[in-house]
């Protein structure tokens, strides 16, 4: 019911929204919860386990009951708190966790079965018979489990992530947060003020108190206006700080567009990482429930929430309200309701000595022991001494005191401290370095206390930042907060602690009785605190009940800790930008478009995209294209873009010496203008990478790495240089992106290459020379990865695409053309050249037959470890070639023909395979136990995954041109 003249909603801006298919009206500034309450909708959800009718309990993000699905055009968001979701024109949402309608939920039968569904019923019930688990129990449990549902489609919404930096982060904008932000802001510090709600002010918007003689809301408006005008203060509303991490890093979730109709490019949420050396935790406190029989009906609400709905939203959640509370402060709810013209039927206060004169009946020393009303409370039963009586009411406001919102202080393993005075946990000082809790979050419950502690913390931070500031403290109430803990009313029946997960005091007592006396065990056995609200409403009360049941005090019982995030964070927000193509950076070759123009499917090679093959009309399969391209290279000439290989430019007087140290073989003796193949080991003796390095000048080398290991090798070189020889005169830098480089391979390669350079050159095999390519300074290498006479032409990247198109066009006039990765792979297998399929991190130089490349005369990285026993000899799997008449597979294992196929008889494995049109056979590279001594033998290749069982011939790995005559032609 809306109350005239109250609330901060904008009554000039009505909005229409839909809940469970029915249209309602609210105002701008309403949350879904306040708008539904204004429309007298009390029943908004069903509980998790028993499917009990549930209504709005709170007015904040801690809400355990009022969880709804918000339905958008392109997404459906489950478990949205109606107390946080703002209404907007066209908002469409529905209740969840029901079978049938909200009023007649078929699964409410669970409530009648509750005697069988107590804590641990899963473990007790679904144990036998064993065969029933998969077929019967699991599908039923899966159907019943969970709360909301998803659309099953991709979330096409836009999400963002962002970074922010400031001197002082203020978390929360109640009196303490505003005062802290004002103080730090006036001191000139860079301030971020993060507020979870859409409006700043915290409890000042909910309570009808005064500050400096003016209404709280007015003071808030004044301070916010001043803060807004400060260039050094950034106000972030609708932003929940979700976690505190190492070294002043905080996570925060901003609801950017969830309060508006969706439109393109409007992000739904933004996940922030905020870095701040100083932070003020002004997160306030959460009011706690009192456990008594049937305390979960719609219409039962936190007293502070009733006050919020009244003062902030102009809504009376009931026509005849009762109050059940154990503090003086909670009485304000009743007084403000009465002042607004709402009937307060009774105040029930368990304290026998409490103040008993109000403008309504007050029962001191009394307790609520039960409620009635199927879909909403209609009356309560009160016990006072030996007498019980009924009170008619449609809204019971309850309060068991307050729990400081200390969650963030526990995120770095800090344990909170139990305060007997407050009967609550308070933060341990310094639990998160740089973070200081103030106001109610630190147990200062009065408005004066909040303002004073907020100012003091910010003043200290300003001083630490070398700034001074003087801010007057406004006048405000300073009523002492006195409380005697009151957790649960003794009596029969189920009394709820955790509304979200349907955990009652009985469940906690049962857990204790069955031996789950540790709070961690109790939590897991009962699932208390494991629902979307993460125990915000129930943890401390459950702990108190457990302490009582086990005869210990609360400090001895201990507490579970709080971990991030403070509120649920959508994965879409955390992973913003990482969906689909955003998953990893994409690197494109200069020839990318030219390859795509020719219809080449692109495949990933690390972050690069390379052409797989270049289909021709009439070719039905990739194999046909691949076979043709292999033939083309062997018979005429082929062009391949090899720019993806890592290129490292190395210069300095000690460049040769440095290469000698990182490569197993010697480069200091390499003549200028020559290229050498090099092998690089890790310090543990296993092969790191291979590639060629060219000596361009006396003190200038160009190293080539494999595509996959380019970054790894750069890191390795930096380490070796900085750790072991930082004083050598050598410097290097990656130039991979600076050069476009194309392989020109085949019998007609020389003719083609020379057609592109201004002065034709006669390069020896493994030679390099600077050339002018069509007027551009470039480099010509004579190297080959195909086994044919091969050249690589390098030009600055910006000329890459033009050169590729020209090379391909000219090659086609010679009967050649471009070739892709598939053909490149077959060509190198035919030639026995290795890639990272072979040097996969577990092989030594000896395994690949290159032990002679480890120079005896000098030290190098990995040399000592490579000599360790077990890294060389006949017990090793050694590189061999395999030849077969039928298809074989990489990943298959090798066995002696006629022996059993199992792990003990395993003789090795296959790393690369391909069909060779040149030899008209399937070829493979494999590692075979003592393989080099077994050339000519036959082995059995078995691949259970692909159903292969093939006899292969063991061969020397170089199938094609073993003498290298074609290379040197």
């Amino acid at each position: 019911m809306r109350i005239d003249g109250k609330g901060l909603i904008d009554r000039t801006k009505p909005v229409r929204f839909r809940f469970d298919g029915k249209d309602y009206a609210g105002y701008k500034g309403d949350t879904l919860a306040s708008a539904l309450l204004a429309n007298d909708v009390r029943l908004v959800g069903r509980s998790f386990k028993y499917h009990r009718p549930r209504g709005v309990l709170t007015a904040g993000s801690e809400e355990p009951n009022a969880l709804v699905e918000v339905i958008g055009a392109k997404n459906q968001t489950p478990n949205v708190r109606a107390t946080v979701q703002e209404v907007f024109e066209g908002l469409d949402c529905r209740s969840q966790n029901r079978l049938g309608s909200l009023r007649f939920d078929l699964l409410a039968v669970n409530d009648y079965l509750s005697p069988f569904l107590s804590a641990g019923f899963y473990y007790k019930t679904f144990m036998w018979p064993r065969a029933f688990w998969e077929g019967l129990y699991e599908p039923i449990i899966r159907r019943a489990a969970g709360l909301g549902s998803l659309s099953g489609k991709h979330d096409e919404g836009v999400y963002e992530k962002a970074f922010a930096f400031c001197d002082v982060l203020v978390i929360g904008s109640g009196p303490s947060g505003l005062m802290a932000a004002l103080t730090a802001g006036r001191a000139g510090a860079d301030v971020i003020l993060a507020e979870e709600s859409h409006a700043l002010g915290g409890r000042l918007l909910s309570d009808a108190g005064t500050i400096s003689g003016m209404p709280g809301g007015e003071w808030v408006a004044q301070v916010v206006a001043e803060l807004t005008a400060m260039p050094n203060v950034r106000i972030m509303s609708r932003t929940t700080v979700t976690g505190a991490y190492d070294h002043g890093t905080y996570g925060a979730l901003e609801r950017v567009g969830l309060h508006k109709p969706a439109r393109p490019n409007l992000p739904r949420e933004c996940f922030w990482r905020i870095v701040a050396p100083h932070a003020v935790l002004a997160s306030g406190a959460l009011e706690r429930v009192v456990a008594f029989k049937d305390n979960d009906r719609p219409g039962l609400m936190m007293a502070s929430a009733v006050r919020t709905y009244l003062n902030r939203y102009g809504v009376a959640p009931g026509k005849r309200v009762t109050l059940f509370a154990n503090t003086d402060a909670a009485r304000a709810t009743a007084r403000e309701l009465m002042a607004a013209g709402v009937t307060v039927a009774a105040i029930i206060d368990p304290r026998p000595d409490a103040f008993s004169v109000e403008d309504c009946p007050v029962h001191v020393g009394a307790e609520v022991i039960g409620t009635r009303g199927r879909l909403g409370v209609s009356g309560i039963t009160v016990r006072k001494g030996s007498e019980t009586f009924e009170v008619e009411t449609d809204c019971l406001a309850m309060s068991g005191g307050w729990n400081p919102t200390i969650h963030l202080t526990c995120h770095m393993n800090g344990r909170p401290r139990w305060s007997e005075e407050l009967a609550a946990f308070v933060p341990m000082e310094g639990a998160v370095p740089g973070l200081v809790a103030v106001g109610a979050a630190n147990g200062s419950m009065s408005t004066h206390g909040a303002l004073a502690t907020g100012r003091a913390a910010a003043q200290k931070m300003a001083e630490a930042l070398g700034r001074t500031v003087q801010v007057d403290l406004p006048e405000a109430e300073d009523v002492p907060y006195q409380i005697k803990a009151f957790w649960a009313v003794e009596g029969k029946g189920r009394a709820w602690l955790d509304f979200a997960n349907d955990v009652t005091t009985k469940d906690v007592k049962l857990a204790a009785q069955e031996g789950f006396r540790s709070v961690e065990h109790m939590k897991r056995y009962t699932t208390q605190g494991m629902a979307p609200d993460q125990g915000k409403n129930s943890n401390v009360a459950a702990l108190a009940v457990l302490a009582d049941a086990t005869g210990r005090g609360i400090p001895e019982t201990g507490t579970t800790t709080f971990r991030p995030p403070y509120v649920p964070v959508s994965i879409a927000a955390m992973g913003a930008g990482g969906r689909a193509e955003g998953f990893a950076p994409q690197r494109f070759l200069t020839s990318d478009q030219a390859s795509r123009d020719r219809g080449a499917p692109m495949i990933e090679a690390g972050l690069w995209y390379r052409p797989s093959y270049f289909p021709k009309p009439g070719e039905a399969t990739w194999r046909e294209a691949c076979d043709r391209e292999v033939d083309m290279v062997r018979q005429a000439v082929g062009i391949a873009d090899v720019s993806t290989l890592g290129k490292i430019d190395i210069q300095g007087k000690d460049a040769g010496r440095f290469l000698d140290f990182v490569y197993t073989n010697t480069f200091s003796t390499l003549p200028v203008g020559r290229v050498r193949y090099g092998l690089m080991l890790r310090e543990d003796g296993l092969v790191l990478d291979d590639g060629t390095s060219a000596r361009l000048a006396e003190n200038h080398y160009l190293m080539t790495t494999t595509t996959a290991a380019a970054g790894l090798v750069m890191r390795h070189l930096d380490f070796v240089h900085q750790a072991f020889c930082a004083d050598w005169q050598v410097r290097f830098i990656s130039v991979t992106e600076s050069w476009a480089q194309f392989a020109v391979a085949g019998p007609k390669a020389r003719a083609l290459a020379n057609a592109f350079v201004e002065t034709p050159v006669e390069l020896p095999f493994m030679g390099v020379t600077p050339v002018r390519v069509r007027g551009v300074d470039g480099r010509l290498f004579r190297i080959s990865f195909s086994g044919e006479e091969g050249y690589e032409i390098a030009v600055p990247t910006r000329f890459g695409e033009a050169l590729f198109r020209d090379l391909v066009a000219r090659a086609e006039t010679l009967g050649g053309g471009p070739y892709g990765m598939e053909a490149l792979n077959v060509l190198r297998i035919e030639k026995g050249f290795i890639t990272h399929a072979e040097i996969h991190g577990r092989v030594t130089a000896h395994d690949i037959g290159m032990e002679k490349m480890v120079a005896a005369k000098k030290d190098c990285i990995g040399k000592a470890a490579a000599m360790r026993p077990g890294l060389w000899g006949p017990e090793r799997d050694q590189l061999v070639g395999l030849k077969a008449a039928e298809p074989i597979s990489a990943g298959a294992h090798l066995f002696v023909p006629g022996t059993e196929v199992h792990r003990e008889t395993d003789q090795g494995y296959v790393t690369s395979v391909g069909f060779s049109p040149t030899l008209n056979a399937w070829l493979g590279l494999a590692f075979l136990k003592d393989g080099r001594a077994r050339i000519g033998e036959r082995v059995r290749l078995v691949d259970h995954l692909r159903g292969l069982d093939v006899i292969c011939e063991v061969c020397h790995p170089v199938f094609h041109d073993p003498e290298g005559e074609k290379l040197r032609a």
Partner: protein, 91 residues
Amino acid sequence: MRLTCPLCGDRDRREFYYYGAEDYLRRPAEGAPLADWDNYLHLRDNPAGVTKDLWYHEAGCSQWLVVTRNTVTHEITGVELVAERTVGQAK
């Protein structure tokens, strides 16, 4: 987590690559017994408290860093350049 690179300043840990204990800086001399290599390559302390380890500012200045940090409190008490530490110590 954040690290203060001596060259680049205070940066997010996503800019850095973690390698391992600073023991990797004490490479045995050529011809050292196998036991020394075993120790160098494989044997590591696992301290609860102060530890020194190697980080690489991969998305920054390419410098290797020795970071002194506390595995219990996560406090970082020192960041030095590997290159500056070892100049003059090369073989």
